[in-house]
Symmetry: C2
């Protein structure tokens, strides 16, 4: 019956801890939102960048998403097998693929983008517009500060 309250004051003052908890809670929910379309957060992000930059290469996409090239391969394999994207050979460089959405891929992306936008609005419904934008800006600055911390290893 001892319903002792557990405190975590010392952790709560760390931005990194707040970041982890918020991300964990959001990640599962975004994936649940995208599941009906057969997408995950990562595959949706890939579709978005391809939609915005048709003809880009896999290594460029990996760079834009800040993931390693090998991790992108299975994501693109899946999207390609389902007919959502196409890997076109690049005539000028036969090692590379130019990525673009198919018509189906474009439609699925539009549906997914709407779903994600609605989810994002719901997720940040406790914040004002200003607070929401300030948070996104702060997150970007944290990301930048962190990645440029190790300039040359």
């Amino acid at each position: 019956m001892e319903k002792q309250v557990i405190s975590d004051t010392s952790l709560r003052c760390f931005a990194g801890y707040a970041l982890k908890r918020a991300f964990n809670s959001v990640q599962a929910d975004v994936n649940a939102t995208l599941a009906p379309l057969g997408l995950r957060m990562l595959s949706f992000s890939a579709l978005a960048v391809i939609a915005e930059n048709p003809g880009l290469r896999q290594s460029q996409l990996a760079g834009a998403l800040s993931i390693e090239r090998p991790n992108l391969v299975i994501v693109l394999d899946d999207l390609e097998q389902r007919g959502l994207i196409v890997r076109d050979r690049v005539p000028s460089d036969r090692r590379a693929y130019a990525l673009r959405l198919t018509d189906d891929g474009g439609r699925v992306y539009q549906l997914a983008a709407s779903a994600v936008q609605a989810h994002d609005a719901r997720m940040t419904s406790g914040l004002s517009k200003v607070e929401r934008l300030a948070m996104i800006d702060a997150l970007r600055r944290i990301e930048t500060a962190n990645t440029k911390e190790q300039p040359d290893g």
Copy 2:
């Protein structure tokens, strides 16, 4: 030579995407900070909550950290084997363990807390105090809004 710039404007407006990128960049760096002490972000968090709530049980710790009980076991096994924590039997309930830090555990935790605090300050060095606190508060509200979204499944 085509150093084409890849845009991700459509993704950048999603708070969830900013969250993911910031967390990914931070997670690796926190773990690198804690590596010399043989800790990860999760084991450090466990130490912090045990330090703050000596005698708490594993299920209470799991609840405080928002992780499932099974995932905590190996973390505590490791901390116990290294002599940083103790699992005391609870006389009133012989199923449960009361967790506490050893003297060594207390020392390692203090070192780790200093390192994490320094890292956190560096990570948020691009933010003013007000911005930093506002961001942490916003993250907590997002976490809360998201977890209470599914009240009973």
